[in-house]
């Protein structure tokens, strides 16, 4: 362009020399933005609006993956497809038989429950969404979905796959939505142990293979291999969906609480299709103040340690 040191035109765009004042102003601005964004929900509407603008970019970036997928479909031979079809049919049949059995059991169960006047369990209904194959950040636990508010998705919707709970919608644009996984450090989920109904909260750890259940009583009845299910407490997920399996329990002798770790059961976003389920309004957590803020968190109130943030990332 020009020899170094003769930047006659430099001041036109933000100068060749670093302006310390400008640095300070921009840094302050960035930090203010981050703080505002941390404040739950404050910038979500901004972000949801921005999703309109960024949707074409995502489409463009996911194009190679889409092409590969379509290409694979085009060249995969009939026989392989037929074999896969056959296998899927068989699976469908076996699961349907199982389902019939379960239904019969469920009816019997419902009759018993009716006798003791327990609440009925809601049938799971939801929207099928697909994960857009994009790398948002390999060390964070976020997903991009191909449906948005036009398809009825909203912030706080739960996401499940065939194996268990995956995460929650954190921001919904018209045709795309962000979701956070249950392993995100900002996520907390009320759970109960299927064996004995012990209730706790599973926090994300940032590690895709484990959730943490801190602050358990030292005498808690929990053992490795126990399955954790969702409860209706959070109001986000239908009760009884598998979440994780206890993988380790630490009972430190010098601490007041035990901590357990659990391995998530779902494929955590490696499945392309997810089911988005609506929050169950009538089962939500009781409104603690009924004035200031609506309970958006998924964590049960009255828990010893407040979650790092709550139910979802702002």
């Amino acid at each position: 362009m020009m020899p170094p040191g003769t930047n006659a035109q430099a001041p036109l765009f933000a100068g060749g020399r670093p302006g310390t004042l400008k640095l300070v102003v921009l840094l302050a601005l960035a930090i203010m933005l981050m703080l505002a964004d941390r404040q739950r929900g404050f910038l979500v509407s901004v972000r949801e609006r921005a999703l309109v603008l960024t949707a074409p970019v995502y489409w463009l970036a996911s194009l190679p993956a889409t092409i590969v997928e379509v290409g694979e479909l085009a060249v995969s031979d009939r026989q392989a497809l037929a074999a896969e079809n056959q296998q899927l049919r068989e699976e469908l049949l076996t699961t349907q038989v199982e389902l019939q059995q379960r239904r019969a059991e469920g009816e019997a169960h419902a009759r018993v429950l009716a006798l003791v006047e327990a609440t009925e369990r809601e049938a799971v209904t939801g929207t099928l969404v697909r994960i857009v194959d994009l790398d948002l950040d390999p060390f964070r636990h976020r997903l991009l979905l191909d449906r948005g508010s036009n398809a009825g998705l909203a912030r706080g919707d739960g996401l499940i796959d065939a194996l268990g709970v995956v995460g929650q919608v954190s921001a919904a644009g018209p045709n795309t939505a962000f979701a956070i996984l249950i392993t995100d450090p900002n996520h907390a989920l009320p759970v109960e142990v299927s064996r004995n109904g012990v209730k706790s909260i599973a926090y994300g750890t940032g590690d895709a293979t484990r959730l943490a259940l801190p602050n358990l009583p030292l005498s808690v009845d929990l053992s490795v291999g126990d399955r954790l299910l969702t409860t209706a407490v959070g109001g986000r997920f239908p009760a009884g969906i598998p979440v994780a399996e206890i993988s380790a329990i630490e009972r430190p002798t010098d601490a007041a609480f035990a901590i357990a770790y659990a391995r998530p059961l779902s494929a955590l976003g490696r499945n392309r299709e997810l089911l988005a389920v609506k929050p169950i309004a009538w089962l939500g957590p009781p409104d603690p103040t009924a004035s200031a803020r609506s309970p958006e968190s998924d964590a049960t109130p009255g828990h010893v340690q407040p979650p790092p943030s709550t139910g979802e990332e702002p």
């Binding site: 362009m1 170094p4 040191g5 930047n7 035109q9 430099a10 036109l12 765009f13 933000a14 100068g15 060749g16 020399r17 670093p18 302006g19 400008k22 640095l23 921009l26 840094l27 601005l29 960035a30 930090i31 203010m32 933005l33 981050m34 505002a36 964004d37 941390r38 910038l43 901004v46 972000r47 921005a50 603008l53 960024t54 970019v57 995502y58 463009l60 970036a61 996911s62 190679p64 993956a65 194959d133 994009l134 790398d135 948002l136 950040d137 390999p138 060390f139 964070r140 976020r142 991009l144 921001a171 962000f178 450090p185 900002n186 750890t205 940032g206 590690d207 790092p308 943030s309």
Partner: protein
């Protein structure tokens, strides 16, 4: 002003491509060592054409990255502003380094960026990331010479073309 506008266009184009490439899905083992493309592009233009890559642009492009990657708003903006500031501060020295030495300096810049990233993560309640987290600056250093040569070639050719066309 024409060459400036040409460079400016190249800058925006390179930044857009870097932002897009970062999003393209990869196998997990590759994804974790993906270098921060935007950082490399910003470092190059801060070194070679500081009149287009100022702090303001670093901030705005960082914001675009934040919106695209769905992270904390302002996080990339902060990191990119600091990266460009440091590059500009040491620009006169860095420019006359041989390219391998420059790559070393870029490694330091990217490492610093990673530390900032970690700091922001910790503030927002994340746990310590796996060791692979630190691989990205190394890969960034390895690709820096190629990014540098590619962008240099494009920029010089563009200028050549403009000189041929213009008076």
């Amino acid at each position: 002003m024409r060459p400036l506008r040409g460079t400016y266009r190249l800058f925006l184009l390179a930044a857009a491509i870097a932002l897009l490439l970062t999003l393209v899905p990869m196998p997990t083992w590759l994804a974790v060592m993906k270098p921060m493309g935007l950082a490399l592009v910003l470092a190059y233009f801060a070194l070679e054409a500081p009149e287009v890559a100022g702090l303001g642009h670093a901030f705005l492009l960082g914001l675009v990255a934040d919106v695209l990657y769905g992270g904390l708003l302002g996080e990339h903006a902060l990191r990119m502003v600091i990266l460009v500031f440091l590059t500009l501060r040491f620009r006169h020295r860095l420019r006359f380094f041989p390219i391998w030495q420059q790559a070393g300096a870029v490694f330091a810049l990217l490492l610093n960026d990673r530390v900032l990233d970690l700091w922001i993560r910790m503030m927002s309640g994340s746990t310590w990331p796996p060791l692979l987290f630190w691989l990205s600056p190394v890969v960034g250093m390895a690709v820096w010479p190629w990014v540098f040569l590619l962008l240099d070639g494009l920029r010089l050719r563009r200028r050549q073309a403009q000189r041929d066309r213009g008076p």
